[in-house]
Structures are given as structure tokens and as C-alpha cells.
């Protein structure tokens, strides 16, 4: 059994278990409401009764920047959360149920098994983020003005790499333990660690979190490139999957 057959099985599983639907729905909704929230928030604030007249004038008019910031903030938060929730069972659940042992009685390498898991989640996230990006782009066009499509594409590409880091980390956690719950706990710890180190002043520039800032800069025409963060992120993905493979290779199922 080769990689593509397993990948197909994994993708059908994403559909059957409604993972695809959940990820798609969450991302699409944030793609739609982010520009809308950016547009309406100042007016909502102004409509608070008894607001002092001077204060209402201080609330700035919404701009394109607000729309992009809302979009990235929402997608970053919920994308990472989804990466964790949707990947935590990837290996652990198959071990719990005993289906991993069954799959691997076929001449299927454990590397292909893990890689297919990652690839299926990567495809699901790519598809969902594409829909979210189109939704956001269209609503931003209607409510504000057109975003430059090429840099907006780059923003989404960078966000996707960020999500992939968290998916790979969660697959690693899922490989290390035997139950979904333990995988979730461990992955949450890893998430806090990556985000924590990423928010430190100097080291932070090398961490995945920086990709989101870079993306915002790109989309708004004030690029502050963070190439090191991109290379580190790609390196982390390979490292996490590599360690997962080393551990999984020797694991009793």
C-alpha cells in the first residue's frame, strides 16, 4: 500500500468524521465576519448611550488596516486551536482503537503512515484557509477597498506555514502518548511553549508567531520580512515529523 492510497483514505476520513466541515466552517465564518466586525465596531462603540461627546469623536473611522488585523487575529487564534483539536487524535486514536496495528499489517511503511496523516490535515487546512481568504477579500472589497491580491496571498501562505507547525507538533504529541486526551494536553503545553518563547523580544523573531506579523505587514504594504522565522518554521515542521517517525518506528502497537 503506498502513500497516495493512505492519503486518499485519510482525506475520506476527514470528510466522514466532519473534520473538514468544522475547519471549513470556522475559517469561512471568520473570513466573512472579520472585515464586517472591523467596519462595525467603531459605530457600535459610538452607539453606546451616554457616551461623552468628545470621546465618540476620538474613535477613529475603520480602515483597511483594521480589516486585515481582525482577519489575522481571528484566524491565528482559531486556526491554531483547530490545528490542535483536529490533529490530537491523528495517531493516538488509531492506537487506542487498534486500527493503527491493522493498517500497518499491510506493507505500509510507518513513515508513509505519518506523512499521510500530516498531508491530509495540510490539504484540509489549505482548502479551508483558501475559502476564508476569498471570503475576507470579497467582504473587504465590498466594505472597504480592494486588498492587493498578491500580498494578501502571501499573508495567507505565511499563516498556513504557521498552522503547519502546530499540526506537526500535535502529530508528534499524538505519537508520543496512547490517548487523545493526553495528546491534547501535551500539544497544549507545546503550543504555550512555542507561543511563550515566540513572544520574547529577541528570540521571538525566529519563531512561527512572527510569520503572522510579517503577513500583516505584507498585506498592508509595510513589509518587515522575517525570513529566519520562515526557515525556522519549516525546520520545526520537518523536525517534529522526524522525531514522530523515530518514535513511532519503534513503538509497539
Amino acid at each position: 500500500m503506498n502513500f497516495f492510497i493512505v492519503l486518499r483514505k485519510e482525506l475520506m476520513e476527514q470528510w466522514r468524521t466532519k473534520r473538514l466541515l468544522v475547519i471549513l466552517a470556522v475559517m469561512a465564518i471568520f473570513g466573512l465576519i472579520s472585515p464586517l466586525l472591523a467596519k462595525l465596531t467603531p459605530d457600535l462603540l459610538k452607539s453606546i448611550p451616554d457616551m461623552p461627546a468628545g470621546l465618540a469623536d476620538l474613535i477613529p473611522e475603520p480602515t483597511l488596516t483594521d480589516a486585515v488585523l481582525q482577519y489575522v487575529k481571528n484566524l491565528e487564534q482559531f486556526g491554531i486551536l483547530l490545528a490542535l483539536l483536529m490533529s490530537m487524535g491523528s495517531v493516538a486514536q488509531e492506537k487506542e482503537r487498534g486500527t493503527a496495528a491493522m493498517m500497518l499489517t499491510h506493507p505500509l511503511s510507518r513513515a508513509a503512515f505519518l506523512l499521510a496523516k500530516f498531508a491530509a490535515l495540510a490539504v484540509t487546512f489549505t482548502l479551508s484557509l483558501t475559502v476564508a481568504a476569498l471570503a475576507c477579500w470579497y467582504y473587504t472589497l465590498l466594505l472597504f477597498e480592494a486588498l492587493p491580491w498578491d500580498s494578501f496571498l502571501a499573508l495567507n501562505g505565511l499563516m498556513l506555514v504557521g498552522f503547519f507547525v502546530y499540526i506537526a507538533a500535535t502529530i508528534l504529541c499524538s505519537t508520543l502518548v496512547r490517548s487523545q486526551g493526553a495528546a491534547a494536553g501535551l500539544a497544549f503545553g507545546a503550543l504555550v511553549l512555542i507561543a511563550g518563547i515566540g513572544s520574547l523580544p529577541r528570540i521571538g523573531t525566529y519563531f512561527p508567531g512572527q510569520l503572522f506579523n510579517w503577513g500583516v505587514g505584507l498585506a498592508l504594504g509595510a513589509a518587515d520580512p522575517a525570513w529566519p522565522a520562515l526557515w525556522v518554521s519549516l525546520g520545526l515542521i520537518v523536525t517534529f515529523l522526524g522525531i514522530a517517525w523515530l518514535v513511532f518506528r519503534r513503538q509497539e502497537l
Binding site: 466532519k18 466541515l21 465564518i29 466573512l32 462595525l40 459605530d43
Partner: protein, 67 residues
């Protein structure tokens, strides 16, 4: 901003409501077909229908149990 000004943005919410309905229906269909859930079925049905948007997702993540 008076309410009339907000009204012009209501059409923007239609796709959001449609997505929410799709999620709700998918969760309910899944719930009806499933033999076992974590916790009582009627409670999940209430959560899916009453907790806007997040209800179906909580069900998909936490409510299902393999037969």
C-alpha cells in the same frame, strides 16, 4: 449610528447564518445516526440547537464516541 444604518449590513450576515445552519444540520444528522454519545443524547441535541455556532463544534469535538 441609528438602527436603520445597521440594517444595510444585514445582508452581509446571510452567508454566516447559512454556514451556521449547515453545521447545525450536519451535527443533528450525526447525532441521530450515532448509537452512543458521551453523555445523554437529548442534552447534545439541546446544545447543538441552542448554543449558536459553537454548539455543533463542541459536539463534533467532544460529544462523539465510537460505537
Amino acid at each position: 449610528m441609528p438602527f436603520a444604518d445597521f440594517q444595510q449590513y444585514i445582508p452581509f450576515l446571510i452567508p454566516v447564518v447559512i454556514i451556521q445552519l449547515i453545521l447545525m444540520i450536519a451535527a443533528l444528522v450525526d447525532l441521530l445516526r450515532r448509537e452512543k454519545t458521551r453523555g445523554p443524547k437529548w442534552l447534545w441535541a439541546l446544545i447543538i440547537v441552542l448554543v449558536n455556532y459553537i454548539g455543533p463544534i463542541i459536539y463534533f469535538v467532544a460529544g462523539r464516541q465510537d460505537a
